[in-house]
């Protein structure tokens, strides 16, 4: 006879709360969060494209929103999310080849992803303002 149908408190395997935060783990979580942000942010991209396709009046309205400090803040965060997710994704593609799993490499790539995303985001915005 088995007790498999008797309900009881089963032990759970340890989860996030038993670990102290590490950079590699935070970058993994951030990769998922930026992915989600980009998911909903697609709405902004499509909104802007529809505005451009709708004509000058509506385009100016939408551009006005994106030019406001709030709009710029969203776009800045969106740019960073996109670059961070892209660099993290390139890291994943590198892992897919079976390389880069040594502890020091993993740690270095996590730092490169974070640092690179901040530097590239600022660089992109400097270029954008330079063009303007």
């Amino acid at each position: 006879m088995t007790n498999s149908d008797v309900p009881r408190e089963r032990p759970l395997s340890p989860h996030l709360q038993v670990y102290s935060p590490m950079l590699t783990m935070m970058m993994s979580i951030v990769h998922r969060i930026t992915g989600s942000a980009l998911y909903f942010g697609t709405f902004l991209v499509v909104w802007w494209l529809i505005a451009a396709a709708s004509g000058p009046a509506y385009f100016d309205l939408v551009n006005g929103f994106f030019s406001s400090w709030f709009g710029r803040l969203i776009l800045f965060g969106y740019t960073w999310a996109a670059i961070n997710h892209m660099l993290g994704g390139i890291k994943h593609l590198f892992w897919d080849t079976g390389r880069g799993f040594e502890l020091e490499t993993v740690e270095r790539n996590a730092r490169l992803t974070l640092g690179g995303s901040i530097v590239l985001t600022i660089l992109l915005w400097v270029i954008a303002y330079g063009v303007k």
């Binding site: 992915g35 998911y39 494209l49 994704g89 593609l93 897919d96 063009v131």
Partner: protein
């Protein structure tokens, strides 16, 4: 009693109901996204502060239309796959999971069609 062999039942149909396609499509679209999103970023930077006519002309030029269409297709497919994994990870109730997966597909399809339509309209207008 099924006449199918055990091998034919499991071939490519594990608990996820498909084989490596999900993982593979995520990778293919990820690789495609890199150049396509960079092109879009370049177009965006060149549109900053420009009047509508100039932006519409840039967005409507054939090469930009082709690149942006591919970008919309690739990113919406990629984000549908990604959100599917998040839903499957965090929503355990079967009913709510199916509803969320459906909503995911609807949102991504809506973004793909809306974005694609806008790009085509710009392309055919100029």
């Amino acid at each position: 009693m099924s006449l199918r062999t055990p091998l034919s039942k499991v071939r490519g149909l594990g608990s996820a109901k498909d084989g490596t396609e999900h993982w593979w499509h995520q990778r293919v679209t990820a690789v495609a996204n890199i150049p396509l999103v960079l092109i879009f970023a370049f177009v965006l930077i060149n549109s900053v502060g420009k009047p509508h006519a100039e932006v519409a002309a840039l967005l409507g030029s054939p090469l930009v239309v082709i690149a942006l269409l591919m970008m919309i297709g690739s990113i919406t497919w990629h984000m549908r796959l990604g959100m599917q994994v998040i839903i499957e990870d965090y929503i355990s109730s079967e009913g709510r999971k199916i509803a969320a997966l459906m909503a995911n597909t609807f949102f991504c399809a809506a973004m793909a069609v809306a974005g694609g339509f806008a790009i085509l309209k710009l392309g055919f207008a100029s």
